[in-house]
Amino acid sequence: MLNSKIPEGPIQHKWTQYKASAKLINPANRKKYKVIVVGTGLAGSSCAASLSELGFQVEVYTFHESPRRAHSVAAQGGINAAKDYKNDGDSVWRMFYDTVKGGDFRSREANVYRMAECSLALIDQAVAQGVPFAREYSGYLSNRSFGGVQVSRTFYARGQTGQQLLQGAYQALIRQTAVGNINLHTRHEMMDLVVVNNKAKGIVTRNLDTGEIKIMEADAVVLATGGYGKIYYLSTLAMNCNASAIWRAHKRGAFFAAPSWTQFHPTSLPQMGDYQSKLTLMSESLRNDGRIWVPKKKADDRPPHEIPEEERDYYLERKYPSYGNLAPRDISSRAAKEQIDGGHGVGPMKNAVYLDFDSAIAQEGKPTIEKRYGNLFDMYKKITGMDAYKQPMLISPAAHFSMGGLWVDYELMSNLEGLFVLGEANFADHGANRLGANSLLQACVDGYFIAPHTIMNFLASEKPHETIDQIEKEKLITDTQERLETLLKIKGNKTAEEFHKELGIILYTKCGLIREEAVLLEAKSQIQELQKSFYTDLLVPAGNQINFELEKAARVEDYLELALLIVEDALQREESCGAHFRKEFQTEEGEAKRNDEEFKFVSVWESLEKNVFKLHKEDLDFENIKVSERSYK
């Protein structure tokens, strides 16, 4: 039933072959086809602009007030590409290898290879758009290194790489609203997917300013709606990131892959109080010079500078001598959690570890460190009021990136025909752990270079503009209206935010960095309880026009359902791999222990009815890379 449609032939030629044999549509006929793109992050903007440039009609939706506010804007560190400008032995093949290994051998080889291959042209495209990447004095592009690899392949624009790339994509998109075929609908939320005969044929939308619910019909639908790490409530994501678009599509039949694979970023700022609404990320690049440590003594209340060298545990350097403070994210985050759980946590809530620049400042001088990280230190001060030149930063792991998402085949098409899923919203390239600076790349490559070809290939066999039955349309609109009215009518005593916070705590403590059968079962029953009480205790203020609480409530409703699938997925996978660490399955040294015999597949879920899930498996074949133990010692 699951056909990943990987083209035949050697991996180096698969994408070229695909493009050579993909079906085309005559330029004059393209304007007869309409494609909906939901989301204006890197994936959505780039796809919409590229489709419009080809001549298709494109309807673009975002709940944001402007496309430029999509959460891609917040990415700091950089974007990877195998340009080998450093002559340090990088190549498409090495990047492919690093990514498959980084993902703990749980991604699809052919997709990963294609991402590495397309990375070359992506940097070209971004530079041509005017993205001001860092440069050497000679005028050539500059690179730096990132966690989990030994070459320098990361391109960056100070600490605002995502913002700058998004500017490029946003400008391409907005240009097409003027000179091309894009209709832009801001402050519109996708509420449901329209499926006719197992094909995606449109979406149900709500105008968030007026409350109006409408249907937009199309010949194909693209979801580029980002990640759902915000399900943990405290996360590095923006307040409005959500799973609703992909969850509603899932409920209409699109399969969901590896829902429980969430990356926890090791260098986020810790929670400081109950009022807190999000956790801010401090770029991973800080780990190039900062040293991570905790006091050896438990519950040590001395200020950091009073703790002598021999009473500090530089646990990453101790456990992973060859990668040290640059060990991959999943490993670093888990190690921090072990220290915090073991009573070595520091900071007011004892929930952090130190990231210390003392030795770097002593060795290289304050001006050098200031030049490298000045903006990050300023940001740290703005948020915490503390000076990281004088005392070590407090950092802590935080929910950050969803490796899971809607299942897609090689064409980035879901099992529902005509539904394409791009960027962080899909499951494809990162396996069980994403390498830093690979997801901006994936979002861009999906949108600029892959989807335009695969969507055209799909549309070439479709008759343009088959309309949906009027009665069917009215029913879909009523469904959404009734759903929202139900939420408004509960009139309990608990806000959507309170439900979300409770859900977040359950997920963090029971289905977070470390998982265990008995605890997951507890999580499951607690979420079920919470879900039940949602329908009796929820309180949403009245009003159908601008009503942020109603938006939140609908998203939390979806989060509660997805949370149950997340727990189910974590329970089912009786192995540890990447970010998914099951306490029962570890090596003697406490590292993740994969079980390739039984679990070398992607877990792909179908919802039979509400909260009833059926597992499908996509077996992973590794023809080019030898599956091995992932060691960073």
């Binding site: 007030e65 758009q129 440069r135 609404s277 940001m379 703005k382 806000t495």
Partner: protein, 243 residues
């Protein structure tokens, strides 16, 4: 910590608005301003009152979505900060804090603290881009750009489109915002070709949207959370006269 909050409440675009007073206790000085509004809204909802409509998303100063006037300071009483990067430790215990929306003809108020800034997108749509289609780009290192030029281009490109520059300007001019985009692009070799039409069209759209003209008071530069320099307006004017 205690604060007396005075918030601008306005039902809809055409309704009349007024300040409404709320006494808040049990605040934490590490709360950000949006977190304080979350806290207040929770109470309003439970009392059966309409919560305060306000927007924010990233809450780390990069998306440009938040932004109110706080005690007369556009965005923030702090230097180079957005509203979401403003914490209660900026206020004295017991202080009265006024919160109101950005005000400009081109930014109509939608409800309470929410405004419509889509006029800024429409300015960009007129030419705030380099006209390269997907697939046309040459090899990246074939376009050499000096380190300093790249850094200056970045400085201009760092604008987050928040509109604070407009809100603070007595003429509600969008010159800093528009100038930043024009100088970002026209500074780069790949953006020079379209420089003429870009500046003409963007400036015309700025006028059409009802933004005022720039009289060079420099107020915008002072409130800009990204520290966008007034020099960008000089560049824009130069490009405009050249065209």
């Amino acid at each position: 910590m205690k604060l007396i909050i005075q918030v601008w409440r306005q039902e809809s675009r055409d309704a009349k608005g007024k300040f409404e007073k709320y006494n808040l206790e049990g605040l934490d000085e590490n709360m950000s301003v949006p977190e304080m509004l979350d806290f207040l809204n929770e109470k309003l909802i439970k009392r059966g009152e309409d919560p305060i409509a306000f927007e924010s998303d990233c809450r780390e100063g990069i998306c440009g979505q938040c932004g109110f006037v706080i005690n007369g300071h556009v965005q923030s009483p702090e230097k180079q900060a957005t509203t979401c990067q403003t914490h209660l430790r900026s206020f004295k215990d017991g202080e009265e804090v006024f919160l109101e929306p950005f005000r400009a003809t081109a930014f109509p108020i939608k409800k309470d603290l929410c405004i419509d800034r889509t006029a800024l997108d429409r300015i960009i749509a007129k030419g705030g881009y380099i006209g390269v289609n997907t697939g046309q780009a040459p090899e990246a290192n074939s376009i050499l750009i000096g380190h300093d030029t790249a850094e200056s281009a970045f400085d201009a490109a760092a604008c987050i489109g928040c509109g604070a520059c407009v809100a603070v300007c007595k003429n509600a001019s969008a010159a800093l915002f528009t100038g930043a985009k024009i100088s970002h692009l026209s500074m780069l070799p790949q953006g020079k070709l379209e420089a003429k039409t870009r500046v003409q069209k963007m400036v015309a759209q700025m006028d059409a949207e009802g933004f005022g003209s720039c009289t060079f008071t420099g107020a915008c530069e002072k409130v800009c959370p990204q520290g966008i320099s007034l020099a960008n307006i000089v560049t824009m004017n130069r490009e405009f006269w050249k065209s």
